[in-house]
Symmetry: C2
């Protein structure tokens, strides 16, 4: 009873954070009950829980205990629960399940999750399982596992519901009823001809509201939205989001239906993409594991490349300063303004890059809009630069007299303008060369702006102060 209350609390709170915390607490309780052989108490508890939560619980249990708890679920729930485990936990568990049991379990899994698990297993385990599967399962597994990681094919599933165009709506509903146990969803059904070519899509809702004798061919949408299996999975997620679909049919290059992508899988794809973009716009290289799981060596490797690269960028700034050593030695008060001017160029550039990267990603701005935006950016940067040079020139008068104030004011306008233009152009240049604009990250913009900022500042200083 104590266990039940704590897990139901989660839903009221609905905090992902609370959840993982409680799961480890419940895992201790479950382990205790296992020691006391109170399996029926655990079974009762599991019945009231969501499979996603049970997956989190199983990940928290010790080796051995996890398998015992898994076996308290019926086969169908076991198969579905496996889909909620992290890939690494899934494989770790699967390798400890006896072969015959694993084959039965994989037979009950949804086809996409089964293929994902299969791909993760080592060759030996794969070879052991294949002969035990039916021919149809084997072929399905091979086909789904063959798609590359970034493709629509790799996230689609082949257990979709199909109908024939000449069925009446009553017959169609009956057919869906029969397919309900196997199919990933029966809310959309796909109408295919003899050659498995997709001819239409119909929703269960439309079937239910149709007249009983009406034929599927009269109700179905004859121009459904679809994608090729070798298309990009991000595009599938985008289509599902844009057209509010529950599932998207996937065709091979001969227009034959080979799978569907469901909305929940599309949501996972979209979330992965966000993390990917997050790292792409940063100066950390992507890491395979979560930060908590990664080793020190992995994190070192993910960071050292950019750090060293950016040091070399800054050597140019240093060389720039060294070049003007004489001017600096004569006017040491120039140094006071160095960090402030240099940083402003980088900051203005980071801002422009941020705005452009996001706008290009959401489609608010297209590469063709570059010219139109450039003029506006110049005006904005001038306004920003003038505001800041006003503020800074007053400090200039105070710290170094009117000459220095003029230098600092002129430098500020020029550097902000230069930084903003670099920050704006870089994402477009990346897009032009088919690279992700998100890679035009802040530190990259900053490094370029730093070098140019040093040169601009001291060039102006040398000219103004020597006259």
């Amino acid at each position: 009873m104590g266990i039940q209350t704590s897990l139901s609390d989660i839903r009221i709170d609905s905090q992902g954070e609370r959840l993982s915390f409680d799961a480890s607490f419940i895992a201790v309780e479950v382990a205790r009950l296992l020691r006391e052989d109170q399996t029926s108490a655990i079974r009762e508890f599991l019945e009231t829980q969501e499979l996603a939560d049970i997956a989190t619980l199983i990940e928290e249990l010790d080796e051995g205990d996890d398998l015992t708890v898994l076996r308290l679920l019926d086969l169908h729930d076991q198969a579905e629960m496996l889909g909620y485990l992290r890939a690494s936990s899934q494989v770790a568990l699967a390798t400890r399940i006896p072969r015959r049991e694993l084959v039965a379990l994989m037979g009950a899994m949804s086809h996409d999750e089964r293929a994902d698990l299969f791909k993760q297993l080592d060759e030996e385990a794969q070879e052991a399982i294949l002969p035990a599967l039916s021919k149809a399962e084997r072929e399905d597994l091979r086909r789904l596992a063959a798609y590359e990681e970034w493709t629509v094919g790799s996230v689609m599933t082949s257990d979709y519901a199909t109908l024939m165009p000449e069925m009446t709506s009553t017959q169609a509903i009956e057919a869906l009823r029969a397919q309900a146990i196997e199919a990933e969803t029966i809310y959309y059904a796909y109408i295919i001809d003899e050659g498995r070519k997709l001819v239409g899509v119909v929703s269960l809702r439309d079937l239910l509201t149709a007249r009983p004798r009406q034929r599927v061919s009269e109700i179905m949408d004859r121009e459904p939205i679809w994608m090729r299996a070798d298309g990009e999975q991000e595009d599938a997620a985008r289509l599902i989001s844009r057209y509010d679909l529950l599932a998207l049919p996937v065709l091979d290059n001969n227009d034959r239906l080979v799978g569907i992508v469901t909305a929940d899988d599309a949501m996972d794809v979209a979330e992965e993409e966000v993390t990917e973009d997050f790292y792409k716009g940063s100066i950390v290289q992507p890491i395979e594991l979560s930060v908590a799981e990664a080793t020190i060596a992995m994190l070192y490797k993910a960071r050292i490349f950019w750090l060293v690269l950016l040091v070399f960028g800054n050597i140019f700034s240093g060389a720039g300063i060294a070049y003007f050593e004489d001017t600096i030695a004569e006017h040491l008060s120039l140094l006071f303004f160095l960090p402030l001017l240099i940083a402003s160029g980088g900051n203005a550039g980071t801002q422009s890059a941020t705005l452009m990267v996001r706008a290009l990603a959401t489609g608010d701005v297209r590469p063709a809009d570059f010219g139109k935006l450039l003029g506006r950016e110049v005006l904005i940067a001038l306004a920003l630069g003038l505001t800041m040079s006003l503020a800074v020139s007053m400090i200039g008068v105070w710290r170094g007299g009117p000459d220095i104030a003029v230098v600092v004011a002129l430098a500020m306008v020029s550097i902000v303008l230069m930084g903003a233009l670099i920050g704006m152009c870089l994402p477009f240049i990346f897009a032009k060369f088919d690279r992700d604009p998100a890679a035009a990250s802040g530190p990259l913009v900053t490094s370029i702006a730093d070098v140019l900022g040093v040169l601009i500042y001291f060039t102006i200083a040398a000219r103004v102060l020597e006259i």
Copy 2:
């Protein structure tokens, strides 16, 4: 015919980018057909198109033309299409629709979209519409429009399907058939008692596969996942994603069912949140419109605050340099290494912040893990710092002799360590004080690391070189 081909191409390509480009092209075609009074050709074309695409087309049309094209759709499609328009376009269009027509249209809209539109209208328009609505519609509208923008209540809809527990599965399917025209979804149905308290949820799939005489009360899930109407909408999106739901029931504080959040609305919430987080971690303040639509003044305002704020941060760096003017005057070669050392501290800090912000957002790391991670971060930072000081000290020997090399090497290790620790701690400090860790952005970390970097570098230089 020409129009049809170009719009169908979009689906094959499935590029959001292509779409908006073609929509403006098609808008020209449609405008031409309107001038030539070929409305039937347009109607034929519209019938083959998705409502989301028609919405994009209508946004591209001139005032007047858009209303004409809208009226070529039947009422139900008009209502659904409106939901795909951007909020600003929706209001602009709605204010030009005659009152009686608008009332009919709003009657056909889904309840959440109707309430969203109503909220956007000015008071005069609201007052004009309210009396024309039925009492039930009026109350529904007022109730839905009353929720604050960030709540679950503001994204939920009240047109859900309900069943009674004593119905047989056959009766239940019949009841859903009757509710199919009005309800947002019939794939999940909610079972409520006389007091409208939620007692269970059942899927249409489970109803279809149940025995015909089986009662809803036997089939339904008695412990469904739900949320309070005043909860945060991001949490609703998270629950829907975690448990792979098609819809989430929403209860008021008396446990009465007041609405549902559908998966497609949850996807929109998740996408908005990404954009929000993106700006939160940047030095641009959020802007209401897209970059392309925003005025120069709006963009200026969104940027000047952080730019000025960060300038003041850099004044401290400048003051730090000024404080060590004598040391610098004696050893001008120190200046060569200034940009490189300072930037490395900021870069290492930005990296740590990036990793921590993302890990805290995805839940991979919890605030309680701070202690455990701190020790690891020190080791990683030392490894990074040592690698870099090795490289840099060689340049030090070449540019300034062994003394300078020692100073630069020592400074590099200290500065990288300092930067990494600031970048790591800042997100946790923000989380501790209930602020979003994402606000611990790169430039904030960099500014702090810059000031300390200057002090560390020249303090070490002063000590080592004066001995």
